[in-house]
Amino acid sequence: MLRPELVARLNLARHPLVNRRPLQRVAAALWVAAALVLLVDVAVLFRHFTSSTAGNEQLVGLERDIAQEVESLRSLERALNGFALVEQNRQVEFLNARIAQRTFPWSQLFEQLGEVLPDGVRLQSLRPAVAEDDEPARPRSTRTRTSVPEARPPRWVQLQIAGEAETGAAILDLVDALFEHAAFSEPNLRNEAQQRGLYRFNLTVRYLPDLELEESGSSGETVATAMQLDGAAATGGAP
């Protein structure tokens, strides 16, 4: 007949009753909600710590790996430094130069000697000595060094030629031909001697082979420190 909530507002009490039940229910609901939220928070926190621990462990592992890599890099750098690359490069360069020196164009030399060798002259020995720039050619025994030199490509070759001729004029013809040939210079007849009707001679001449390692690398022949032509003597016009 009358709504109780409306009648309750006509309450004449000095200190009106406060219906705490709704408040208590709300409070209880809030407590329950708070407890649930707390549980969720704890779960989230636990999960967070768990995952962060795993993450930290992973991070530590990665940092350890990085440290190992850095240490490995350093050791490699140390090893690389230990290789003395600069010095080794110089050695390699020198060796390459030596290899280039050893690569001597014998065929070309023989062809060119054939061009200058007159009739009646035959060669008994041919000894090239590689020289550098303006340095005079040194005998092969002086090539041994204790330290690595600054290697440079050879410019000319000192040839020591020993042979015999049927006449003295043939020797002079050889010297003249050497003078005239572009590949030879400074021929120097060291000595000549007559024996059993033949003229034996020794001369030196500079040979400009115009060595090109690229060209001669494949076709070049290893330099023989001296070539004895006794067994296979070259004769003029037909080496």
Binding site: M1, L2, P4, V7, L12
Partner: protein
């Protein structure tokens, strides 16, 4: 819940059971060794100490730890009037002042001596001002000493209401309802509309009305009917209830005056199902205590 009657204090402890029924767990009555004056609104107890003793005795008998209770006053001590307003201040003090100003024009009591509460209800068709307030009031000189006596007994009164308001809160009727609450000295007519109070009249009884042909009660009932017909012509009473010592005679009287049947308040008239009632508990007389229980949780 405690009901203050002319000659007794009645205590009832009511709880709602798990099956939803209201259960009266304790029902006690203690005779009053004092009264509250002969004035129309009562007054302070003539013998305050005797009243305190009665209150203490009541709660001692009730047992348990009771800190707060609802006091159901006789309609003689607490009344309700309706006032129209154009504007009503929202501030509490100004609002109280406006209500007191209005009460001075409506009731023959000193408004400043009254404790009052008001609630806005739906306006009546044709009323002069747009807003309508139901104003409940009682003498501070009555309520203050009663509250003090209860506090001395260790119990705080958290709600003060009347028999008619409390009982009407427990009755089940939609629309327009009329409740007649009577005792040997007075009666109250309370009309409700859609859950709101619409009209409240309290009258003293010189003699049992049904022994007087054409009594003032009949006139009052007919005036009430006429009022409703004029103000709410499209509405009819959906329920009429009587809660009185001689309920059958009151029912006849009401039916004759209003031309409608009426129901004596009993358990079936209540909006709540009741559990087993303790000895001595009568719904027509003590139903207000059940209604007061509903107010506590409203």
């Amino acid at each position: 819940m405690v009901a203050l009657r002319d000659d007794a204090l009645v205590y009832a402890r009511v709880e709602r059971r798990s099956d939803g029924k209201l259960q009266v767990l304790r029902y006690l009555e203690t005779a009053l060794a004092t009264d509250f004056g002969d004035g129309p609104l009562g007054g302070p107890p003539r013998d305050p100490e005797a009243f305190v003793a009665s209150v203490r005795e009541l709660f001692e008998r009730a047992g348990g730890r009771i800190e707060e209770t609802t006091l159901v006053l006789s309609d003689r001590f607490m009344r309700m009037v309706f006032a129209e307003f154009t504007e009503l201040p929202t501030a509490d003090a100004a609002r109280q002042e406006a209500l007191r100003f209005k009460l001075r024009q409506l009731v023959p009591f000193r408004a400043e001596e009254l404790r009052l509460r008001a609630v806005e209800v739906a306006p009546l068709p044709g009323q002069e001002e747009p807003r309508r307030m139901a104003v409940a009031f009682a003498f501070e000189a009555l309520l203050g000493p009663i509250e003090s006596a209860f506090e001395r007994a260790g119990v705080r009164i958290g709600m003060v209401t009347t028999e008619s308001l409390a009982l009407a809160s427990a009755l089940r009727v939609e629309g327009l309802g009329l409740l007649v609450v009577a005792d040997e000295r007075s009666y109250t007519l309370l009309v409700s509309r859609d859950g709101e109070p619409l009209l409240s009249r309290h009258k003293e009884l010189a003699a049992p009305p049904f022994r007087q042909a054409g009594s003032a009660v009949t006139r009052e009932l007919r005036l009430t009917g006429t009022f409703l017909e004029e103000r709410l012509p499209e509405r009819r009473l959906d329920g009429v209830f009587v809660a009185a010592p001689e309920a059958a005679s009151w029912s006849e009287l009401v039916a004759d005056a209003l031309g409608t049947g009426c129901v004596v308040v009993d358990a079936s008239a209540l909006g709540e199902e009741l559990g087993d009632l303790p000895p001595g508990f009568r719904v027509d007389r003590d139903g207000a205590l059940l209604g007061a229980a509903l107010l506590e949780v409203a």
